[in-house]
């Protein structure tokens, strides 16, 4: 090991420190509004994982966040920041609704694969335009994906209010999906675990786990993943190696958008069973926190998604237990996680690295590390072993 610190510290220790800091600040906020943060934490955990009912919701939210977290993570590997998960997931919902509403599905086993294709295709489509503009016109993907979130939201409102609305109904939502397209929930699949009928956890959770495996294979075991990571590390090197930047930007964003869109099979097909105005409910943004905290690794994404699942479900329960507490507190925690793991990473990393360096220096003379320097004039920082 020649990096400043061992891998486990980078992957486990630092995210945990970041999380603790985020929870600490959140606790202070809770205390400042006059509530007891420890009491809130107990209610939160109890509400999220203290019952089969709680688990049913926690894992339902987790499923959403796995999809969007994986989506953001794949884009991160190509060094692109996809803030457009929100819009891509909404369009994914549209894709699911169109697939489900146009065919009289006899059984969910047929409907689900078709809905997966619909969700991914529409999510990918919504990522395709910003991706193309980034690849070919150099338009900043962050700004264009933000703009596309707003455009998606306007588009969804228009479609639901004018096109997909059930004639005669006042509410802007699509017709209810037919029984043949109903996904089995946890109660149907695993009745012996005691999930109540009402919990929304459904078979999409298994799809999410498969997606984790799929993304792991894609990033670390395929040629495409090799190219995506190479491009993410260095664009000039990718060009030297004959890797087409256009291809990587397009493909990784299409996969990213597709994964975000996939969220809709859980939220739209699995839970709402109709298309509503905002089926995403901020999950696209949570995906950013999840990918950052999970270090863009599927295992990390899964863990972080579970954490946010707990926070979301637990937060709702705390609201019922403590009158002065609002579930928006979860948004605060989410913000702090993004802040500490994403933007203030160096604040935590530098001291931790120093600790590891000073511990390592005494026993053996360490190998020098070379910071990669643009310009190719390695003036210093190199010595021959």
């Amino acid at each position: 090991m020649n990096d400043a610190m061992p891998r486990w510290a980078d992957i486990v220790l630092i995210p945990i420190i970041n999380l603790v800091l985020a929870l600490l600040v959140s606790g202070i906020v809770v205390a400042m509004i006059g509530e007891n943060p420890f009491e809130a934490l107990v209610f939160l955990i109890k509400g999220a994982v203290g019952s089969a009912y709680g688990w049913g919701y926690t894992l339902f939210y987790t499923t959403n966040f796995i999809f969007t977290g994986l989506g953001v993570a794949v884009a991160f590997h190509a060094r692109m920041f996809n803030i457009g998960g929100e819009g891509q997931a909404a369009l994914g919902g549209l894709g699911v609704a169109l697939v489900v509403l146009t065919v009289p599905w006899p059984h969910w086993l047929l409907a689900l694969p078709a809905a997966i294709v619909g969700a991914m295709a529409f999510g990918a489509l919504w990522a395709a335009i910003p991706a193309y503009l980034q690849a070919r016109r150099g338009s900043h993907i962050v700004i264009t994906t933000i703009m596309f979130n707003f455009i998606a939201s306007a588009l969804m409102v228009y479609l639901l209010a004018n096109v997909l609305k059930v004639p005669g109904s006042a509410s802007p939502e699509s017709a209810r999906f037919i029984e043949g397209a109903r996904l089995p929930n946890a109660n149907d699949l695993l009745p012996f675990l005691g999930f109540p009928r009402s919990t929304p956890l459904n078979v999409s959770f298994l799809v999410a786990i498969l997606a984790c495996v799929g993304v792991w294979v894609l990033i670390w075991r395929t040629r495409l993943g090799y190219e995506i990571r190479a491009f993410g590390h260095s664009e000039p090197a990718a060009l030297y190696a004959g890797i087409s930047p256009t291809k990587i930007v397009m493909v990784s964003m299409l996969i990213s958008g597709g994964l975000c869109g996939l969220m809709a099979i859980n939220a739209v097909m699995g839970e709402a069973e109709r298309l509503v105005i905002d089926p995403v409910q901020g999950a696209g943004y949570v995906g950013i926190a999840v990918a950052l905290m999970g270090r863009s690794h599927p295992v990390g994404v899964f863990m972080a998604a579970l954490l946010f699942g707990v926070l979301y479900q637990g937060g709702i329960e705390v609201q019922y237990e403590i009158p002065g507490f609002t579930r928006e507190m979860i948004v605060v925690i989410q913000a702090l996680v993004i802040l500490f793991t994403g933007a203030l990473d160096n604040m935590v990393r530098a001291p931790v690295e120093r600790v590891f360096l000073s511990r390592r220096r005494q026993p053996v003379a360490p190998e020098p590390t070379t910071p990669s320097q643009p310009g190719g004039h390695p003036e210093k920082g190199q010595a021959e072993p």
Binding site: S234, Y240, A241, S372, E379
Partner: protein, 512 residues
């Protein structure tokens, strides 16, 4: 010593993490003199000067300016102490005018107009005094490098610098521009200014300095009067032992033509023509060395041959034309045609610095069936391949799991070289093979290049080091301003003639 000292450093040390960049350095520079600091890449020259300019703080030691102990915590303190610095990479705001750049940071008062008016007057005067004519209203990005460098000098003079530090100032200049710069520097010295010139070029030291200090591995090995020394002695002090740049090689036995280039042109993003009609041929079993000051089109030549710059003209490999603009004009297709490429900048292009060594040995060849079937990669195969390469090319430490960034420059280069040479290419493109590489590895790398030639491969060698070109090449082509000025045989030319050609002053005539 009775003359006043402009600068004195006492026992300066500086470490970056585990790397000791400067160790106990002491130096004395007399007022009104030109003092050279010479050393290899990585010897610690730039670090020392960055300490003097307040970019870094020394871990220990003392700085005396004009005999007074001076703290230099930041650049402003350096400027206040009368120090001006011209960096190797200019620090200019590209879309500002010359005037705005000169004034920036040295304005008089909160409003711009009076500052700009004053600067305009002063610039005119400085231009008259030191023949440094630049249009004050020109925008920096429209100026050539020589002119931009003058703006940097003017910036320092505008701040009334008495001590001027120049870091590798001639790296981007033609010999004619360099001569002009030296005239300016001589003029400044005659005015009583003190100049510190950092370079790794012996010729410049001998030509212009009064005294010279030699740095090696972070230490100051000697300070001598230039008149009392010789290039040979300085070279020995620099590298620590006699350098043997003659590479043992048999005469070339060229075979069939491998590479033919006709009227090759490249236009860059700014619509500047970087290659203006290149013609060259390379036969099997020969090394064509391309000499030139960096920035005269050599990089573009490598990039277009390597497949990642677009160009027009004709390139044939083994008699078959190559696609220069279409769908197969990328680096991948070039590799398929038997062209291997060791790029000029291994850290930026040749390696993914965060990839482990085993991942890097497949870089560029990652779709070779050898490294996996279908869309999956066989990481075990890559690891095995890496272990073999590390042994054959003596990469140290021989650990495939180490990230590329954790190898030294020489060992990084060996990884790239092993990857490219072992593909058994028909044509090897190799740029700056020993830049930032230690002496021990240089010999090894040179031997590998000659061995590849002896196997009957065609090699295009681009280097800014004339010694390297002369030692390795079977033929030498000199590039200037996007053109080939002429070709020479190494046995029939010398550094002087090549230097003139590199400045675009002589040439024509094709050897062999």
């Amino acid at each position: 010593m009775t003359e006043p000292l402009a600068i004195e450093l006492r026992g300066i040390s500086k470490a970056f993490g585990p790397v000791q960049a400067n160790r106990d350095i002491s130096i004395q520079v007399k007022r009104g003199s030109i003092h050279g600091i010479i050393g290899e890449n990585g010897a610690g020259k730039s670090t020392l000067m960055s300490i003097l300019y307040g970019f870094y703080r020394a871990d220990s030691g003392e700085i005396l300016i004009g005999g007074k102990p001076t703290e230099i915590p930041d650049s402003q303190a350096a400027i206040d102490a009368g120090i001006g610095m011209v960096f190797q990479h200019f620090k200019l705001v590209e879309n500002f005018t010359v005037l705005e750049n000169v004034v920036l940071g040295a304005e008089d008062g909160a409003l711009l107009r009076p500052s700009l008016a004053k600067a305009r007057r002063l610039l005119r005067q400085l231009a008259d005094d030191y023949e440094m004519d630049v249009d004050p209203d020109a925008v920096i990005e429209d100026l050539g490098v020589g002119q931009q460098q003058r703006v940097e000098i003017l910036k320092a003079l505008y701040r009334e610098a008495d001590i001027l530090i120049l870091d590798e100032p001639t790296g981007v200049l033609t010999p004619a521009e360099a001569d002009h710069l030296f005239r300016i520097l001589n003029g400044l010295r005659d005015e009583g200014k003190t100049i510190i010139l950092i370079t790794h070029k012996l010729r410049e030291i001998m030509e212009i300095t009064d005294t010279v200090s030699v740095m090696r591995r972070g230490e100051m090995t000697a300070t001598v009067r230039t008149a009392d020394t010789s290039p040979e002695e300085l070279a020995e002090l620099m590298v620590g032992r006699k350098v043997l740049l003659r590479v043992d090689k048999k005469p070339a036995t060229p075979g069939d033509v491998v590479l033919e280039v006709e009227n090759l042109r490249v236009v860059d993003d700014r619509r500047v023509e970087r290659l203006r009609g290149i013609d060259l041929t390379i036969r099997a079993g020969e090394i064509l060395g391309v000499a030139g000051v960096s920035g005269n089109g050599q990089s573009e030549l490598l990039e277009v041959l390597g497949g990642y710059a677009k160009g027009t003209g004709t390139i044939r490999v083994n008699g078959q034309p190559i696609d220069l603009t279409g769908r197969t004009s990328d680096a991948r297709s070039r590799r398929a045609r038997g062209i291997a490429h060791v790029p000029e900048d291994r850290q930026r292009e040749g390696l993914i610095m965060d990839y482990r060594a085993w991942e890097n040995v497949g870089f560029g060849y990652h779709d070779d069936p050898k490294f996996g079937a279908g869309f999956l990669m066989d990481n075990a195969a890559l690891r095995r391949d890496c272990e073999g390469k590390m042994e054959r090319f003596d990469v140290r430490p021989p650990d495939p799991n180490l990230a590329a960034k954790n190898f030294s420059g020489g060992n990084q280069q060996k990884i790239v070289l092993a990857r490219e040479i072992e593909r058994n290419p028909d044509l090897l493109l190799i740029g700056q093979p020993t830049r930032g590489v230690d002496i021990g590895a240089i010999e090894f790398i040179h031997q590998q290049i000659v061995a590849l030639r002896d196997q009957g491969k065609a090699i295009l060698l681009v280097s800014v080091e004339l010694d390297e070109i002369l030692a390795l090449s079977d033929r030498i082509a000199v590039m200037f301003d996007g053109r080939i000025m002429g070709e020479r045989l190494p046995s029939e030319t010398d550094q002087g003639e090549l230097g003139l050609m590199m400045a675009g002053m002589a040439g024509s005539g094709v050897a062999a």
